[in-house]
Symmetry: C2
Subunit: 533 residues, 2 copies
């Protein structure tokens, strides 16, 4: 059976699978559908800002992919790399260190974009992104956390910082999130007798002279700006968030805003998995024809935010919106089914219906069919009605409606979802004879022996050749990390063993900053390499 593999379970990926399942029913030759996604659920992105604000519960905006896609095989994994020539995708290992491959006949890129703060000094370290569900929860947690800290803070400077919130980026998501943050903070603060509402400051930093300048007509952008200003958001136009520290946000005008909470919604970068591929790219996006077929590859497809697909109706490229991704998915599923049997391919043609942006607190802006403009309560009612209708699955519709109803009576509690903090340096225990890693495994950790003895060997069975025995204070696994290769040997425990495991990324950070450590590792490696050869 031919296998169609979809990378990504957002609007593009999930809806492609949904339509492929329909195609499957009428297909002459059955084919297999598989999807890879980091989570086992689909997130209804447009409602994420409401999770921050709390009019929706954490799980209201999500749909389990297995339920949505009963005939699709789901891999809940990270994609490690893609090998187009061999027709396979490497997924990140889980519960084992062995590489994990999935083969495909047709591959669909639906990877969207990523928030990429790398290279943005300060933002990278101290700004909260707003992109996925985990981000929404993190932002909500942070707001509750600073309010609690502010409630008992007697040092006025620190209290001021705790009650100041800075959002970078006044596009769609920046505007939506600042609106929700502002509503939440001002509503919650009333519950704290020691917090004076006048001490609360919410800033929105935008590089242009009006909000949502790319997405909305001028009048609606200005309306949004005025409305937010009236509700207490201070907007800084024509400036960027330059950097952030644990104590402040710094703008490129030189203004320094003392604060403990910085949210950044810019920029969306192309998914880094795509960049190294031998494909025709345009600003990091996969170039396709109007049938979503990748330039020069009959079995590769791309759609949504990670694709550069011509917009036949309006010229240019299709905009990176859910509206387009959902419609592209239907045409794409048809085209894949057609190329699997003998059908005729279609071209994607769609004229945007309009745009809507929520502004919190029962208001929104909307433009429909490029001519009708709405704002305020009416636009907000349209926003809710239209997105509610678009929610996939009856379950979701009921849950969201229920949350909206309850919100007016029993609002969602302002509490943090705390998880036990993940340990920087993991401690692991092994019993005698257990294998810590196998030859050929992916080199993802460095190990330091705290107690016990291990044996390092290569080969299997009779071919087994002992390389070294290591004890307390010695380390192993550094070779695969330093050389980015897979493990050259197997490590087995001779006794009960306690080890520290340092993640590849943490190891990299340490080694590149600790001179002594690097020298020491390099010396050991030299000795060991000679032993293997």
């Amino acid at each position: 059976m031919k296998k169609v593999l979809i990378l990504g379970g957002g609007f593009g990926g999930a809806y492609t699978a949904m339509h492929l399942e329909k195609q499957l029913r009428k297909a002459k030759e059955p084919f297999e559908i598989a999807i890879v996604n980091r989570e086992n659920y689909f997130v209804f992105q447009p409602m994420l800002a409401e999770v921050v604000g709390g009019s929706l519960g954490i799980l209201d905006t999500i749909n389990p992919l297995r339920k949505l896609l009963p005939k699709t095989n789901l891999y809940v994994r990270e994609v490690d790399s893609i090998d187009i020539e061999q027709g396979k995708v490497f997924l990140a290992p889980k519960y084992s260190h062995a590489p994990y491959e999935v083969f495909f006949d047709h591959l669909v890129f639906a990877l969207g974009t990523v928030t990429d703060f790398r290279g943005m000094s300060g933002i990278h370290e101290h700004a909260l992104p707003f992109k996925n569900l985990a981000d929404s929860i993190a932002i909500r947690n942070q707001i509750i956390d600073v309010l609690e800290a502010a409630a008992n803070e007697t040092r006025p400077k620190l209290k001021e910082k705790l009650l100041t919130f800075v959002v970078g980026g006044g596009g769609f998501s920046g505007t939506e999130v600042v609106a929700e943050v502002n509503d939440l903070v001002r509503k919650q603060a009333k519950k704290y007798p020691s917090i004076d509402p006048k001490q609360i400051k919410v800033y929105l930093i935008h590089s242009k002279d009006r909000l949502m300048d790319k997405e909305m007509p001028e009048s609606l952008g200005s309306y949004a700006g005025k409305l937010l200003a009236k509700r207490g958001v201070e907007i800084r136009f024509n400036t960027h968030l330059k950097t952030a520290t644990p104590e402040e946000a710094v703008l490129d005008t030189g203004e320094r805003i003392p604060c403990k909470t910085v949210i950044s919604t810019v920029p969306s970068s192309p998914n880094p998995l795509i960049e190294p591929l031998p494909l025709n790219l345009q600003k990091g996006k996969v170039v396709t024809d109007a049938g979503m077929q990748v330039d020069g590859h009959s079995n590769l497809w791309a759609l949504g935010d990670c694709a550069a697909t011509p917009n036949l109706e309006e010229g240019g490229l299709c905009p990176p919106t859910a509206q387009f991704a959902i419609r592209q998915a239907k045409v794409l599923a048809h085209n894949i089914a057609a190329s699997l049997s003998v059908g005729k391919k279609k071209e994607f043609r769609f004229k945007a219906l309009g745009m809507m942006g929520a502004l919190g607190h029962q208001s929104a802006v909307a433009e429909l069919f490029g001519k009708f403009k709405f704002s305020g309560l009416l636009a907000w009612m349209m926003w809710r009605a239209i997105y509610w209708a678009k929610l996939p699955g009856v379950d979701r519709k009921v849950k969201v409606a229920l949350s909206w109803m309850l919100d007016t009576m029993i609002p969602i509690e302002a509490v943090q979802i705390k998880m036990a903090p993940t340990q920087g340096i993991a401690q692991l225990h092994f019993e005698p004879d257990e294998i810590i890693f196998h030859e050929g495994d992916i080199g993802d950790y460095l190990y330091i022996i705290v107690d016990g003895e291990v044996e390092v060997f290569s080969g299997k069975g009779k071919e087994e050749k002992t390389i070294a025995k290591l004890g307390k204070g010695e380390y192993f696994g550094e070779m695969a990390l330093l050389n980015q290769k897979s493990r050259l040997a197997t490590v087995r425990c001779l006794t009960a063993v306690d080890v520290l495991a340092l993640k590849k990324s943490d190891f990299g950070v340490l080694i590149s900053n600790f001179q002594e450590l690097r020298k020491d590792f390099e010396k050991t490696q030299e000795t060991r390499r000679r032993e293997i050869d």
Copy 2:
């Protein structure tokens, strides 16, 4: 105004504050009530197992403390240490490194017990505790995670491990959690065509010869064991969970159970904050009289699981149950109010009403008034009715009732609550002139300079005395960590600075295992100490 400070917001602490607020109304001299809790909410512990199973939502079992206790001052912090003689409590710093003190006239210990796996090699590293809300979420996440991994696993040995679940401890919470885990796994597995229900194994390891031997009469304990066995739980009696590794659970009979999920409900240890105090302790619990007053201290009080309070009705000590803590709280609040004015103190007298244990899937066991025994559906209905009635706040009652109703129609989705992983080694960015830490701050991090230059100095204003200038590759902050003292100097950025920050605990782990690193740090420290002197 006199200040009553309560440490801990569980049943003992929250209900003490609640009753103190009532006492406040009739008090001649008003007093201040304050409570310290790690979270800003109270968790209704008895329903936590249902969060694992998913018949209740994550936030259904919690009540914001501010709402519950409108007249109480809430500190959402960790307690660092307690100074009885000076009458103050040190709270962990947050958003600053400066120490944070709270003074008290009366102090109430309501710290409960903690899950303490220290010294339990293997369990400490690889077993999930089941004690608080974060634990419930973590267990639920883990179950969903292994099911997803198992669904696509082709290596039979790994698949077997992924589908095996081991719970250590067959007391109340162990029995409740294994019942919910078993129900959840078997229900969810049906949604995965590639998982054969026969491959699922759920084990309960108990040290005695019947379940809940301490809490329930023999007949009900045996009933629970038989019921769980019928539903597929394999119970190992008369043995302990000896250790665990990433690959298996090991029992002290020598049996090794290959698995990826180990949950341990034993043991509950006294809160480590209490141990160093100059108080009369009994097995780590604070000894009080029948009025909850701490032995020999007229302004110290203790109740609930962290107190050794005589049980006047039945002899011995009061058992560590919510039932007792709630009733103790009322008497304790009265006694504190009495000692603040001139009232007469009361003694705590209460005869347990009975015990109930849920067994999942519409069944439970219950014993009331020491003579009536119930099991199965009837006991389950009693369980729900009684605990529902005990839920504080109308909001909670509505939400829980709603969740229970919805559970039969639209069950809570089996999705993971994922948070962005906290980084092992934090990267921080500072701008010129910013202070990284102040003299006198708590030494909680070691810093390594990645880029930029800092100045280390002691004294303030004109007294300022530069100690050193440090640049790329150099580190600072190690002295307070090595000596467990507060900072001896202030560090200010001369340029924009990027640093790595290593948590005290991670630093400790590294230093005690890397010979070279320790030597190097000790050498630097020696030089710097001379510079300061």
